[in-house]
Amino acid sequence: MKNRSQRIINVARLRAHYLLMHRIRALEEVAARAFEDKLVHGFLYPSIGQEALTVGVIAHLTKRDLVLSTHRGHGQALAKGASSTAMFHELLGREGGICGGKGGPPHIADFGVGLLGSNGVISANIVIGAGAAHAVKLKKEDRIVVCYFGDGATNRGPFLEGLNWAAVFKLPLLFVCEDNGYAATTKTRTMTAGPGFLDRASALGVPAVEVDGNDVVAVEATAAELIRKVRAGEGPLFLHAKTFRVTGHTSSDPGAYRPKGEVEAAKAHDPIARLRELLIGAGVAVDVLDADKASAYAEMDAAYRSAREAAFPAARMAFVDVQDVGSPLVEAF
C-alpha cells in the first residue's frame, strides 16, 4: 500500500516536473523566436538541455527559500515561481517587466518569490549568495539559499572566497555547479586544472556530491539529502552536475566551435525526453504528456503576445530606483 501510494505521489511529482521542464524549454524557445523577431534587445543565454538540474533542486524549496541564478537563469526563475508573463515583458523591455524593463535577459530577479536574481558578471553571485545566507543566519531565519553557477565560474576568485566564506561561517547554502562543459566558446576543462569540481569545493571546506544533471529523478533524490542537511544547519554543501547546453552560448552564437556530433550525442540524453520515457513507462498516457507540453507552449505564446502588446516604459524610469540620496530625479542635468 505504502509503496503504491508513494509511487503514485512520485508520478504526480514527476508530472509536475515534466510540465515545468517543458515550460522552461518553451520559454527559451519562444524567447528565441522573439529574438529572431528582433523584439529582444540584448542577447539571450538559452538554458535548453539544462532543465533537470533546475527543476530537481528547486522542487525542494519553499517560496521563502532563496535562489541566485546565472546569466543563463530563466529556468531557475520560472522554477522559483516567477511569472512567465512578467519575464517576457522584461525580455522585450516592456512595462510590466519583472525588473521594470531595466534588467533584461541576464538580470531577471523576483524578490517576491525569493529569486535574488541573475547576474551578468560570472561568479559574482557566489559571494552575494554567501552574503544572503549570512544574513539568514544572522537573522536566525528558517530558510536556505541555493546558488547556481556554471563550470566556468569556478575559475574566478569569488568562487574561492565565497565557498571558503560559507564554510567558515557554516552558512545555510547549497552551491549548484551547472557543468555544461563550456564557458562561452571554450571547453572549460582545457582551462581548468586539477582533479575536478568536487575537489575544488571540498578543499574549501564545502563537501561536494556529483549527480547526472540530465536525470531529474537522480537530481531530486540527491538534492533532497543535501538540502535536508543544509536546512539542519550542517553548513554549506556543493552539488556538481554534468549537463549540456544544446544551443550556442547566446542567441546569436551558432556554436560552430563544437566538435561534430557533440550536440547530437548530447541530445540523446535530453532530460525532458528521458523523463517522458520514464513517465510513459510508469503508465502515464502519451496524450496527457502532450497536453502538458502543449500547455507550456500556450503559456509562453500568450506571455510573448502580452509582452508584444505592452508599451515601452517611460524614459523617466531611467532615473527611478538609482538611489535615494543624490538621485538623478532630484539632481538637474
Binding site: V121, G129, P158, E161, G326, V330
Partner: protein
C-alpha cells in the same frame, strides 16, 4: 559635547547605531581585535562576534557578501581596511552594490556602508596611500562621504548607516588621532549632502574635504593675518555635493579654489570647477589644487612632493585675489 578623537567618534557612532538597530553589523579583517586602526575596539565584547565579525583576507567576499546581506535586510558595514583594498572588490562595489537596485527594477535595496580609510599617512607608499573618492562620485548608485572632523565622523557615519543606499565612507588615516568636540546625543546625525562652513569670508571661496580641510584652514588663518578673508567650505559629502552652499559662496566671492589631496587630473575638483564654470561663466575665477599625476612614494621628500600644502593653497589664493583680479583684496 565631549572632546574625543575622530577615531573614537566613529567607534561611538557605530556602537550607538548597533544598539539602536539589531540589523547593523560590521565585517572585516581583524575586527575582533579592534580592526586595523582600533576603530572597533571593545565592540566585540559588547555585540559578540556575529555582529563584529572577523573576515578572512577575502575582499571580494567581504564586500560582495555584504551586498547579499544588505539585500536581505541587514545593514552591514564592510570594513575594507584601507581604500586601496577596495580595488580588490571593485566589481562587487560598482557592478553589484551600486547597480543591484536599479537593475532589479527597485526590488533590491543595498543599505551598505563601505568603510575605506584613505590618504597619505606615515610613508605608506604607493599601494596604501590613495584617495579615489572621485571614482565613486562617478558611479551612479553610490553615496560618497569624506568626513574631516570628529563630530562629522560621528554624525555622517550614523547617517551612512541609516541610509538605504550603498555609501562609500572614507575616513582619512591621518585624522584618526585628531581631536574635537563631539555631540553626545545619540540622535545626533549630519545629513548626507550638506557641506559645512569652516570659516566665513568674502574674498575667495575654498572648497575642500577630508584632511585637506585642515590644511586649507591653516592657509585661511595665514591669509586672515594678511587681510585676505576666505570662505572655507568643507564639502563632507561628495555625492550628492552641496551645490547650494558652494554657489551661494562663489556668487559672493567671485573666486573659487578647490583643494584636495587626490591627484588633480580626473579628481573631483574638476567636477566642482566645471560645474561652477558652466553655471557662472566668466563671473567666477576658478582654480584647482590637487596632487601631481604621480603615485605616492615612500621617502619623506618624495611623499611630500605630491602633497597640497597650506603654503601652496595660500599662494594660490594670493595669486587669485591680488594678481588675477588686478588689485588688493576688497575690504582689506
Amino acid at each position: 559635547m565631549s572632546q574625543m578623537t575622530y577615531l573614537e567618534a566613529g567607534r561611538i557612532a557605530l556602537e550607538e547605531e548597533m544598539r539602536h538597530d539589531a540589523m547593523v553589523w560590521a565585517v572585516g579583517q581583524d575586527l575582533g581585535r579592534g580592526g586595523a586602526f582600533g576603530q572597533y575596539r571593545g565592540l566585540v565584547e559588547v555585540f559578540g562576534s556575529d555582529r563584529i565579525c572577523d573576515a578572512p583576507i577575502s575582499e571580494a567576499a567581504i564586500l560582495g557578501g555584504s551586498v547579499g546581506a544588505a539585500m536581505m535586510g541587514t545593514r552591514p558595514i564592510a570594513d575594507m581596511r584601507m581604500s586601496d583594498f577596495v580595488l580588490c572588490a571593485m566589481d562587487e562595489l560598482v557592478n553589484q552594490a551600486a547597480k543591484a537596485r536599479f537593475k532589479s527594477g527597485g526590488q533590491a535595496r543595498v543599505p551598505l556602508v563601505v568603510r575605506a580609510p584613505i590618504g597619505i599617512h606615515w610613508s605608506s607608499a604607493a599601494q596604501h596611500s590613495q584617495s579615489l573618492e572621485a571614482w565613486y562620485a562617478h558611479v551612479p548608485g553610490l553615496v560618497v562621504v569624506c568626513p574631516a572632523i570628529p563630530a562629522d565622523n560621528k554624525g555622517l557615519l550614523k547617517s551612512a548607516i541609516r541610509c538605504d543606499d550603498p555609501v562609500v565612507f572614507m575616513e582619512h588615516k591621518a585624522l584618526l588621532c585628531s581631536e574635537g568636540e563631539v555631540p553626545d546625543d545619540v540622535d545626533y546625525t549630519v545629513p548626507l549632502g550638506q557641506a559645512s562652513k569652516v570659516c566665513e569670508g568674502k574674498d575667495l571661496t575654498i572648497v575642500s574635504w577630508s584632511n585637506q580641510v585642515h590644511l586649507a584652514t591653516k592657509a585661511a588663518q595665514m591669509l586672515a593675518e594678511e587681510g585676505v578673508s576666505v570662505d572655507l567650505i568643507d564639502l563632507r559629502t561628495l555625492w550628492p555635493w552641496d551645490k547650494t552652499m558652494v554657489f551661494e559662496s562663489v556668487e559672493r566671492t567671485k573666486r573659487l579654489i578647490v583643494a584636495h589631496e587626490a591627484v588633480a587630473v580626473g579628481g573631483f575638483g574638476g567636477e566642482i570647477v566645471a560645474t561652477v564654470a558652466e553655471k557662472f561663466g566668466g563671473a567666477i575665477a576658478v582654480r584647482r589644487l590637487g596632487a601631481p599625476r604621480a603615485p605616492v612614494g615612500y621617502a619623506p621628500p618624495i611623499e611630500d612632493a605630491v602633497r597640497v600644502t597650506e603654503e601652496a593653497i595660500a599662494a594660490a589664493v594670493r595669486e587669485m585675489v591680488v594678481c588675477k583680479s588686478g588689485g588688493a583684496p576688497r575690504g582689506a
